[in-house]
């Protein structure tokens, strides 16, 4: 395969990017659109004390849930842990710190990180302590808003349907979800893809994530979990 941009690689060659205590951002929503092969590699490596950022904690054996359930995360910024009871237990036991953020605002904070915007103002959850906890408030025209800071991570892992050698990405249906914003917010972004196609074979109008944001591309081995509906 043409690899003129030297982005196409293997998971094994990227393992040095993962280490204990790192911040790791992941795409996906309820496990749909989370990168199974990268998640498995991180699990196998045994890294721990991860600081995670992502929409939810998946299900116990699905998506990032696998990493959470094995107690590998010391902290997570997320919007929902309801489908992963293990996450709730770890939180209650004080073994994993959870910062809850309203779902759309979380996605915007990740986008802001990816777009080089320091923060956004929000009026969501202003009357809710769990949301406002520790956050700065600013007043404009006598109305109060929360300052919701941008989120970035050392590494961001995403899942896409197709990549070309430049890392231009297209996604698959609802597996797009938070992937396009996570793809921009990593200092290093790794895209796990179903298929790598030749340069020029993606319609330039259809590309969702320009390869500018993507550092590495690895082929996916496919989902290694059983879906909740199966």
């Amino acid at each position: 395969m043409d690899n003129r941009f030297q982005k196409i690689t293997t998971v094994e060659k990227l393992l040095d990017f993962f280490h204990d205590g790192m911040t790791l951002m992941y795409g996906g929503f309820g496990g749909v659109g989370s990168p199974p092969t990268l998640i498995d590699a991180i699990l196998q490596m045994g890294v721990k004390d991860l600081i995670l950022i992502g929409n939810d904690t998946g299900f116990p054996h699905i998506g990032i849930g696998q990493i959470v359930s094995q107690g590998r995360a010391k902290q997570i910024t997320t919007s929902h842990i309801g489908s992963n009871p293990v996450a709730g237990e770890l939180m209650t036991a004080g073994k994993m710190k959870v910062e809850f953020c309203p779902q759309g605002i979380l996605a915007e904070r990740i986008r802001a990180g990816g777009m080089g915007i320091p923060a956004i103002l929000s009026d969501i959850g202003m009357d809710n302590e769990i949301v406002t906890n520790g956050k700065q408030i600013c007043t404009i025209d006598d109305k109060q808003y929360l300052i919701e800071a941008a989120l970035t991570a050392e590494v961001s892992i995403v899942y896409a349907k197709k990549a070309d050698p430049y890392g231009n990405l297209i996604y698959d249906k609802s597996a797009r979800n938070t992937n396009p914003v996570c793809a921009m917010a990593g200092e290093i972004t790794i895209a796990e893809v179903e298929e790598i196609v030749p340069l020029g074979s993606l319609n330039p109008e259809e590309i969702v994530t320009p390869g500018v944001f993507v550092d590495y591309i690895v082929p996916s081995q496919g989902v290694n979990w059983k879906w909740a509906w199966e």
């Binding site: 749909v32 919007s79 929902h80 309801g82 996605a107 609802s174 396009p180 909740a228």
Partner: protein
């Protein structure tokens, strides 16, 4: 919930009657997910999912599922003609911009002022708010579908919510297994009673002031 499937469908059908031509509607899990079964033919509605679907269609048959086409709860759905995919930011942009006409969702408690408490049971269950706060605060109309009472027989409609709020003063309508209420500036109003219940039955099971509508109906 221990509620019969018939009653669940009756409540879903009543919620469906709120949906008008051309609306964008977000459905929560549980009874709200039954709503699409009760829409009249020819009504063009776009069902919206937080994970980035506009124009969600029926659940596929077993064997036809696509693991990459699921609703916000992670279960397989389909896409109707004119539907589209987007990322989560755009899905929530639709909500915050006021382009989602209605959200139909379950709740643990609703106050007479329309306060919604549906996301947390302190010390028991802290699932996280997901998209509930944005939907409750920003959807043009918020319809709650829930039991009239909890498993201890206590009214889920209350003067003040004892559970932490998802969002204050956001609920427009409550549909229970006994009745339909609207929430307005002047508080809670009983709009419909589901037979065989009587107005008195409903009021007894409603733990706050409730005005009976001039246009009260029975169904």
């Amino acid at each position: 919930m221990g509620m019969g499937i018939e009653m669940r469908h009756k409540m879903a059908k009543r919620a469906a009657a709120e949906i008008k031509q051309g609306m964008v509607v977000n459905l929560g899990i549980g009874i709200p997910s039954l709503v699409p079964n009760h829409l009249p033919a020819g009504l063009h509605v776009m069902f919206h999912a937080e994970n980035g679907i506009t124009g969600m269609g029926p659940n596929p048959k077993a064997g036809d599922e696509d693991e990459n086409l699921c609703n916000a709860g992670g279960f397989p759905v389909s896409l109707i003609e004119g539907g589209s995919y987007c990322d989560s930011t755009l899905a929530f942009g639709m909500i915050r911009r006021g382009r989602v006409d209605m959200t139909i969702l379950g709740s643990l408690q609703v106050s007479e002022k329309g306060d919604l408490a549906n996301w947390i049971v302190p010390g028991k269950k802290v699932p996280g708010m997901g998209g509930a706060m944005e939907l409750a605060q920003k959807a043009k109309k918020v319809v709650v579908v829930m039991n009239q009472t909890d498993k201890f027989g206590e009214s889920k409609i209350v003067e003040e919510c004892s559970l932490p709020l998802t969002s204050a003063k956001c609920v427009d309508m409550i549909i229970t297994d006994m009745a339909v209420f609207t929430v307005g500036k002047n508080g809670l109003e009983l709009a419909e009673v589901f037979l065989p219940h009587s107005v008195e039955d409903v009021i007894t099971k409603t733990n706050c002031r409730v005005k009976v509508s001039n246009q009260l109906t029975f169904s």
